[in-house]
Symmetry: C2
Subunit: 389 residues, 2 copies
């Protein structure tokens, strides 16, 4: 079986981006190529998988081919992968399988979204349409509303209060403050995060991630090529994915994501590790409560103990048992929908190679994980990365 090495990774800054889709994508690819230690030419790419929900709601079509044409990969076998906010997590999974299949040696996985050209109503549409439409969106339930329901239920079932969510927000802003590519680069105090503008009770502005523009891309190669490109590849040791009922009322519980649990189980099995082996994880904290659930569903905290995990600072950089969202996460680094999943992989690549800003470098990390969720949990992709093969 072929092993898969990540030899390059790059992204635009997440935020309100001046460039259009082609410019953003080209920047992500250029940065990914620059990060490869030895010469790399985009013409050597055999397959490309580009995650996007709506290509930013743009009018462009056949956009996957358009983007590869504009980034030096003309002629490559390329397609768009769409899976709501997990689009590029699945692009990464499909790229990983393409190499393992023996049909491709050099593969690009990436993602892109441009949210800030959209009117407020179109932005609401493209966000809302990622969840259930028939029972939820058309009845008026927004994503903040969905996660507010989850938070309320979580507080009802377990020993947890909104204070625990504030700890998540403060931590992620502390992590993202020093990240040059983060959207919201500001530290916030517990008091400030605890007195935010109410969005959907109990979630305030400081519980919600921003909507960002951005693009991200990683370069994967088959094991026999890894050392042609770098002496320090990051190995994609495992990939797992799953899905769940789209509508909340069909799920056995709204305080856990079965899709995450299934994806994690499969990724750990493929990588032959357990949750306790993970040193740092980029998890899908579209809302602070989502990070609390993720710490449980990924096995970092026991069921019902995710609130305490946050309260105790277990996810803090170089302090806790496992660093959660060293990049700042969706909350501070930002959330350009289709670009988020491979953006998480960019952070893991740099952390495991000791290439992030020194002040935010995780020490002695061997194993990293990414966790990318679609919609309110209908789809999920989890990946495990290691410095050792």
């Amino acid at each position: 079986m072929v092993d898969v090495a990540m030899v390059g990774a790059g992204q635009t800054k997440f935020g309100n981006h001046p460039f259009g889709l082609k410019g953003m994508w080209s920047e992500a690819i250029e940065k990914a190529i620059e990060s490869v230690d030895n010469d790399f030419h985009p013409k050597s790419v055999d397959e490309a998988f580009i995650g996007s929900i709506a290509f930013g709601g743009s009018q462009l079509g056949n956009t996957a081919a358009l983007l590869t044409e504009h980034s030096g990969m003309g002629g490559v076998s390329v397609r768009r992968v769409e899976n709501a906010c997990a689009s590029s997590g699945f692009a990464l999974r499909d790229a990983w399988m393409a190499i393992k299949s023996g049909q491709a040696d050099v593969v690009v996985a990436g993602g892109i979204e441009k949210m800030n050209d959209l009117s407020a109503s179109r932005k609401r549409y493209w966000l809302g349409v990622s969840g259930d439409t028939e029972w939820e969106r058309l009845a008026g339930l927004t994503f903040p509303g969905t996660y507010a329901l989850t938070a309320r239920r979580y507080f009802h079932e377990f020993e947890s209060t909104h204070d625990d969510l504030v700890h998540v927000s403060v931590k992620n802003h502390m992590h993202g403050f020093q990240n040059e590519v983060a959207h919201l680069r500001k530290e916030i105090s517990f008091e400030k995060a605890n007195s935010g503008f109410m969005v959907a009770d109990p979630l305030t502005l400081y519980d919600c991630c921003p909507t960002s523009d951005g693009a991200s891309a990683v370069i994967l190669v088959a094991d026999h090529l890894a050392h042609q490109y770098t002496d320090t590849p990051v190995w994609v040791k495992g990939s797992g994915a799953g899905s769940d009922y789209l509508a909340l009322h069909d799920r056995p519980s709204i305080t856990q994501l079965c899709a995450t649990q299934a994806a994690a189980k499969r990724a750990y099995s493929a990588a032959n590790i357990s949750a306790g082996d993970v040193d740092l994880a980029e998890v899908h904290d579209c809302f602070t409560i989502a990070e609390v659930l993720a710490t449980e569903d990924l096995g970092f905290a026991a069921r019902g103990m995710g609130g305490k995990f946050a309260r105790d600072g277990e996810g803090r950089r170089n302090e806790g048992s496992v660093t959660i969202n060293a990049s700042g996460g969706l909350k501070s680094k930002g959330h350009p929908l289709g670009a988020t999943g491979t953006g998480q992989a960019v952070e893991i690549f740099k952390q495991l190679r000791n290439q992030v800003e020194p002040t935010r470098q995780i020490r002695d990390a061997e194993i990293g994980l990414t966790h990318n969720v679609g919609g309110s949990g209908a789809t999920c992709a989890v990946h495990v990365f290691g410095r050792e093969r």
Copy 2:
């Protein structure tokens, strides 16, 4: 290396369909399951790839998970694959690689589109947006216009006239007339096809495929499972894909598709065959001229000889050197965008197993091929199928 067997394949009738997306998809899956000789349960599916341009322009989101939930595959790792009109051709390719990767044993590839709920302007949008937007669509160039340019240029470069295209149309209607799942089931005479309503000179109504609703799905399994499900699997012997510049003016020639040529070369190489070995091919005849180009780009006719190939009846069922579009092709069977690619594979599956209507069965066919094009040729996926492994 794992070999990939197709053990089931099914589709809705293509046409103006009364059901919504969930109903259409469930029908395609149900028919695919019914076609498996031994017991098959949708819960055994490990991965699913669903091709669609716009899920029929519907308001539903996270739709891949919604469709698998509604067809008994809840929990499966699933994503949408989008590549303009080649969406499910690439879904098939990615499903093939998923099995070859050793990460999945049972995989569904399918496609779906619902065009006839859309207003005329939305239909034009979702069709038009599959080609180049910046230089072509926004300047007023439609798809019939694109292919009319190609036809005019073809007649200028080679010994060919519109009569050759009429032969394509007559043949495909003759083939599709007896296909129970075809959209336009009517035979047409040369005279009738030659006097059609002009759409984009020189292309008449009889040169253009219809816009259809439809869904299609195939079930692929790893070699070690094939005989658990059937004694007569159809082997997916090779897959190839490629891309090209989106805008016509960037291509070296508009009378050939580089994406098809690259995809065919890769598919033939993977299957270890040459064009001369193919007994029947389902090619992407969105317009009659596209079939002429395809016969050349796939290697069935020499460059510039595709018109003569049609004129001489070389693609006729059981008469010519290779049967082209035994199903009726996009012209007669119909073209539900995202459902077309795996719909082609359904036809090959049934033909190679001698399971189509007796009057339209290809005799002694061993090797089949599918050819699915995105937009005006920016993306293409080619697959080779065989009765023998």
